[in-house]
């Protein structure tokens, strides 16, 4: 079932197993084949980036892993358990911050924590403050969401996703709407947090450079139907700088391969 390469790299029991996952979407006029026969293994603590043009099913796959969507075919397992719905160990960070405007920053980060059993109010508060400190926003604890910049909102969303201490973080183009400078800061932050807390991170993006900057592995998807085409190991040392020449070399190679799988009008 799995390729030799993947088997040799990750011999321990994988954190996440996807086997022959397929998914169709029905719209009023047509049936879209969103995912076709996707097989993937992700090891504990791995940082994996899913890359591809829009419509390649990478976000759909993320939603399936999150338990927000169900596959039509195939097997999805996390920690040896079949995924049947959202779980406390897999939290999602969306493209828009999806913060709740009726809560303060503090309230937003507390939201997920309050749904955990067995934490006292003081512990919840302490945890919230710890993670807000981690993303550098403790000062803004009592701010309203609309008072934050786009980058700060995504930082709060990151704190909100980290606070319940999930073992897996699913990120759906979380930095897509941010300006370049803010994004660069967040690349540093997310790598730092990942190396300190050793989460398994699955990161969806259409930005190849971003994927190379963050991922241990970059999985390349192609659209119509969404398929895994190739995967690339990125053995560059951490912390990686998005502007480094080595990184650009990997990105250039992956972009070249990507263009081969995409019709020209989609690849620009």
């Amino acid at each position: 079932m799995e390729t030799d390469k993947v088997a040799s790299t990750h011999s321990a029991a994988p954190k996440l197993i996807l086997e022959q996952v397929s998914k169709w979407f029905k719209t009023s006029s047509l049936r879209v084949h969103a995912l076709d026969d996707v097989t993937l293994r992700i090891a504990e603590g791995e940082f994996v980036c899913l890359v591809g043009p829009s419509g390649c099913g990478k976000s759909t796959l993320l939603n399936i892993i999150a338990g927000l969507d169900r596959p039509d075919q195939g097997l999805v397992q996390a920690d040896g358990q079949t995924i049947t719905g959202p779980g406390p160990h897999r939290l999602v960070m969306f493209q828009e911050a999806a913060l709740f405007p009726w809560l303060t920053v503090l309230g937003n980060v507390l939201f997920g924590l309050k749904l955990r059993n067995g934490l006292t109010a003081a512990e919840q508060r302490e945890t919230t403050e710890y993670y807000l400190e981690l993303v550098g926003l403790k000062r803004f604890m009592h701010s309203n969401v609309h008072e934050l910049s786009g980058g700060m909102k995504q930082r709060v969303a990151l704190a909100r996703a980290l606070a319940p201490n999930p073992s897996m973080l699913l990120m759906d183009e979380p930095f897509g709407a941010l300006d370049a400078l803010t994004r660069e800061q967040l690349y540093g932050d997310i790598q730092r947090i990942w190396s300190q807390h050793r989460k398994t991170i699955i990161f969806v993006t259409h930005n190849v450079r971003e994927a190379v900057c963050l991922g241990d592995r970059v999985i390349l998807f192609s659209p119509n139907p969404g398929r895994i085409r190739e995967e690339f190991a990125i053995p560059l040392p951490r912390l990686r700088d998005i502007n480094s020449v080595d990184l650009a070399r990997y990105a250039a190679e992956i972009t070249r391969v990507l263009k081969g799988y995409v019709p020209h009008e989609v690849a620009e």
């Binding site: 959202p86 709740f100 809560l103 955990r116």
Partner: protein
């Protein structure tokens, strides 16, 4: 802030002066257009003999109970129509239709069904509140960005928790405008009902207005109208303004 107070006071002082000037020009008989002072005199005497207080209590109690009932029923029904297609096609369409009906139209029916009783008044107020609240709740819930519910679900929120902690607060701006509209409808329909008919169980502001007309006491009519306006403003300031301020602050929709 002070400048705004001064401007507002000045404006209303000018209105009263203009009123007095028109009275002194003797265009209309003082029976038809009483002077500001005689209206004030009526209000003073009505406060002193307790009729105004009594009527206000009767009217406001009807309004608050009816309005409360309308919200209590309308809110869950709106949530239902927003979450089930079946409810949308039944209750939703009913609400949409009845919302277009001016709530005064319920008065004759209420009198036939309940007689000249408190229940008839409450019925009219509830009918005024209910439908617009159902529509507003339904509308509010449907306009919530789906990403809120997805984010909540991914954090483990389900069922009732999602409704009370995500859907309702997210729909709050819509709920508030629905509540304001419902309030306006309820207030108007109650006044109309009270002017129409004498309700044996209580003598409200509408009745005071009605008897003012019967007795050709325009100072009473205008005085009661002023009280009705003041109650409207007071409810806005006490009930809606605090929620609105909270919404503007949290959502960041305040005008600079």
């Amino acid at each position: 802030m002070i400048a705004r107070w001064v401007a507002a006071s000045l404006f209303f002082a000018l209105l009263v002066v203009a009123w007095q000037l028109v009275v002194e020009a003797h265009i209309w008989s003082p029976v038809l257009l009483p002077s500001p002072l005689s209206v004030l005199e009526y209000l003073r005497s009505a406060v002193e003999d307790g009729t105004l207080r009594e009527a206000t209590v009767v009217t406001v109690r009807r309004l608050l109970i009816g309005y409360g009932l309308g919200i209590l029923v309308g809110l869950p029904l709106g949530l239902l129509t927003a979450s089930s297609r079946w409810c949308q096609d039944t209750i939703g369409i009913l609400a949409l239709g009845l919302q277009t009906l001016p709530s005064v139209c319920w008065v004759p029916l209420a009198l036939l069904w309940f007689g000249q009783t408190e229940s008839a008044m409450l019925f009219v107020v509830v009918m005024g509140t209910l439908w617009s609240l159902i529509i507003a709740t339904d509308n509010g819930v449907r306009t919530i960005p789906p990403i809120y519910a997805r984010a909540a679900r991914s954090m483990g929120s389900t069922g009732l928790h999602t409704w009370t902690h995500v859907i309702l607060p997210a729909a709050l701006p819509f709920l508030l405008s629905g509540m304001k509209q419902g309030w306006a409808f309820a207030w108007r329909s109650l006044m109309a009902a009270e002017i129409f008919v004498t309700i044996l169980t209580g003598f409200g502001l509408g009745h005071l207005l009605h008897y003012g007309r019967e007795l050709n006491a325009m100072d009473q009519v205008i005085g009661v109208m002023l009280v009705v306006v003041i109650i409207g403003l007071a409810v806005d300031a006490m009930l809606f303004a605090p929620i609105e301020r909270f919404l503007h602050r949290r959502w960041g929709t305040e005008r600079p």
